[in-house]
Symmetry: C2
Subunit: 638 residues, 2 copies
Amino acid sequence: MVKDYPEHLELSQAWQILRGVFAEAYLNFRQEIEITDALGLVLARDIVALRNVPHYAASAVDGYALDADATIGASPATPAMIKKENYAWVNTGADLPVWANSVLMVEDSAIEDGVLCVYKSLTPSTNVRPLGEDVMAGQIIAREGEIVSPALISLFLNAGMEKVSVIKKPGVLFIPTGNEIVPKEEWLANPKPKSGTVAESNSLFIKASFAQWGFTVDVTPVLLDVPDILKEYVQKGAKEYDLVLVGAGSAKGDRDHTLTVFQALGEVLFRWIRMKPGRPAMAAAVDGKPVICLPGFPMSTAVVLWSLVYPLLKLLSGVRGDQKELIREAIGTREIWDTKLLVQHSSPAGVEDWLRVKTARVGDTLYSWVLTSGASVLWALAESDGIALLPASALECEKGTDVQVCMTKEVDLSRRILFQGSDDPAIQLLATPIKRWGGDFVSRAVGSMGGLAALGRGECHLAASHLLDEHDGTYNDSFIERFAAGRDWRRFLVFYRMQGIIVQAGNPKNIRSFEDLCNGDFVFTNRQPGAGTRVLFDYYLKLNGKSPEDVKGYAQQCSTHMEAANRVHTGLADATLGIKSAADALGLDFIPLAEEPYELVIPAEYLEHPGIAALLDALQDSAWRKSVEEMGGYRWPN
Amino acid sequence: MVKDYPEHLELSQAWQILRGVFAEAYLNFRQEIEITDALGLVLARDIVALRNVPHYAASAVDGYALDADATIGASPATPAMIKKENYAWVNTGADLPVWANSVLMVEDSAIEDGVLCVYKSLTPSTNVRPLGEDVMAGQIIAREGEIVSPALISLFLNAGMEKVSVIKKPGVLFIPTGNEIVPKEEWLANPKPKSGTVAESNSLFIKASFAQWGFTVDVTPVLLDVPDILKEYVQKGAKEYDLVLVGAGSAKGDRDHTLTVFQALGEVLFRWIRMKPGRPAMAAAVDGKPVICLPGFPMSTAVVLWSLVYPLLKLLSGVRGDQKELIREAIGTREIWDTKLLVQHSSPAGVEDWLRVKTARVGDTLYSWVLTSGASVLWALAESDGIALLPASALECEKGTDVQVCMTKEVDLSRRILFQGSDDPAIQLLATPIKRWGGDFVSRAVGSMGGLAALGRGECHLAASHLLDEHDGTYNDSFIERFAAGRDWRRFLVFYRMQGIIVQAGNPKNIRSFEDLCNGDFVFTNRQPGAGTRVLFDYYLKLNGKSPEDVKGYAQQCSTHMEAANRVHTGLADATLGIKSAADALGLDFIPLAEEPYELVIPAEYLEHPGIAALLDALQDSAWRKSVEEMGGYRWPN
């Protein structure tokens, strides 16, 4: 009989269910293990010292061991005299002779003809570290539930323990599934994988995450989307492991069989969580073991790992913890930062929203902005400085909204500069030289106009401009003047770069001039409003007496040269306007149109910023200049 | 020729020297490795994607792939009709046929006799995830200096990379030395090690610390204190490893040869650091490799590992960082807490002072207190909640001084209760049952009087009392009344316990009565002022018409029953006053004197505290009560 199970839960509800069902499971994992294997494990019972540490009474100083009785009444005026056989030299840490109960410091004595002159009266135990000073035999030195630390391991040895009773770590199996999934070796061996296929990269992410957390996971071969195969593997997994993870198959497509398999084998605990990404998560109990279905998109896998699998790993290891705290740990949070949104973000209604954000401080404001939010976009996770989890109540988050970020990377805000402006591959190459010079360069491609506007609003440290004034054919001057509005903005002419028409390799459509683009035969792909390249395109349109309606695809927007060139490369467009280096990078043909000056614009107040100083140094970096020259399409100013 | 080197540096100076000398060493460690082995390593150069991710244009929806041209002008009123051969069904994520450039959502269509009716006009790229949406071939996806994360490993695979260039982790060798050091197996095999010997436990601490940090270390056998042997090992180590650690031998004793060996082999960089513990640290460069001498006491080894070795490991791995930050990482800091000292602490002048502290919140105040501060005391490190590093300028730290604690353990302050008062082994056993009932019990043994006084000052949640009023022979009433000073303090009679004279096993000195203790033939060891047991002793003195001068060792103070009994056990004293369970634990003889009531005292305001609630539950715990009965010397109240 198929039991009812809750659907579309909140994340905290999903965790409560798991915690309720598997709270006591760790009690089955008690094990005696060698102390040197116990690091990070939870103790299963109180640990009682078997020996005194130290196990003998040791001298606490360099001096003479003796019986304190023999010193009664001794003083500099009335020294006690002790014969050779009644005292003995001891080093710090050495054991006392059995007949001695105290140690006289050298400075309180003298030796005359082998007789010790004692100038001080001692009581028993003076300058003696008693046996058991650190730990006494029979003392509880660690408690049930405590996590074994390096210090405890060392203490266990000193206290005479070879083994301790701990909760062993759960054994975990991951079962990737999907007809379209290509195993790692096959994927790497074939430089041109079939369209519609995907690399089996989730197991790498899972293995690495487990390694970071101090756990391990076994991975089966990728299963085809056949219910009977999956059933066999899950059944066997639940027998041999303490936790089973199934990759994908929890949606409602015709190849999604995970639910059916879970229902056939055990009890489904919940299905679907009100969060984004990660919604298609699902959990079941099979043979009393937890089985979790991880949605297939990389970012979905990540958030379910963080929010449910890691807390479950801890629970099964005997660690109690708050879900919120555990999620922060799972993410690898170094610090929590209170930031303001740099750019508006729309969050779906009634759904917790996992954001991958970058951060920078401009003036006194610590900003964060959201990187692409798709579940399929892995780069955004790798690139992010941290993770923010927006509550379900957040909807339209205006610019300036408070966002708390779990920082996963170490960011030195005092060195970081935020560039907003015109995208250029040569500028992207500059980040590493800037780092070598002691700065930290992060950028947002918002076009020349967007950058100058952001600079005007105090939302970045620098912008770039290659804007053509269609009234007089001059570049940059009028725009920078307008946005600066009287403020002291400095201009740095970095290079001239060649703009032109980018067409497919070998120019199969035989596009030869700007006019050809407007004849309606070809699909063009454009840049976003405010991009200097778009301004240039509009200028050419006007020069040629054409209007946007004459250009098929004029409304298509790409926000970088590379993105636009890639559309041409894939055949989604026949042509775009862009710089030569973008065409070269993808092996596309290039028809030169015009050379334009590319200038950086930096408010004077930031010139002393360590990041800006590093940038100005890096612009002279010979290795960087060589790379730029090799890209082609750039010319240095005289 | 022997070069000069600085002595008695500040910790930050020592680090500056190491950082200066070894800043570029990591450049020799560049290596191409499999992406799956790269977790946590630093990238040695920018990483450029070899493939587009995704590598094909994929449908973003379930629907019909078609050429957008065929839909021009389509609307519900004027549908475009497309023949079977010119459209194709695609699932989300599937690739588009070559002749298609957009995808029509199902809801905007109908099928009639195999002909697709299109109700919407599409432009090229509609509902298509372009090739390279996540990452474009040629794009820099990770930067030199970045640490490889799980997400990056996954991204590397997707982008077609099998290997990446990283900075490999440094190879590290630890050489323990010392004639008195006994290897682990030998130590464990012999339940009664020779006096003056010490277990080789530092290598366990070092190995476990390295494991926590994601590094490994090889360990040589323990070397005898012979300069030529050490020289051979250090020389070989510096050839084969990137960092060599030498255990002990840096002091000025006659068996300390490390300095001589370092001078013979290379250049000594510094010797001795103005901190406590850890002062005898020393560093040298041998064959261009760093060689660090770790002082032998466990806590000294720990602080040098944290403050110099870990930052050096990171430096050699290509990570730049601030020493203070790196020390916090090394310690395993979870959070930093601002606390007030509960007990005065004296710090040595001009020396940074590493404190091991416990914490608790009483009322609104977050307190910390220092555990024993000896370098040889390992238990204090294992037991501590965190570490505080007092600056050299701190001297006499009064109660209430602000202390910042790097918390290494997770402490739930809302569940933690602080007990100050009379020490008792049965109460120590209560901590684990309290934890099971949802509380967290920490204690300071300050004697009955000390506990009641602390409770009166609001410095703990509960105290205990077994104080005899010598005026009327009653227990507790008058004392509790006095300290409560009208406040509502509740009393819980836990048990009666038997106090008596504890003497050596078999009673070799033939002590039979209290009077015997006062005849001057025997060495007594006393408890601290304010301890109920000391009050009892003083009462018996008076009853017998004796004075403290009649008792040899009256001035010797121990702060727990076990510590006092241990003095008897080791022969440092012939007798003490204490409870039967302490005598039993060490196999000592016991001469009963009097039964006393042991009461817990809890202000009414704390009765709702989760920790107190758990304690009151735990007092009824049958397993605990059984353990107490087994200890002997306790009687439950009727």
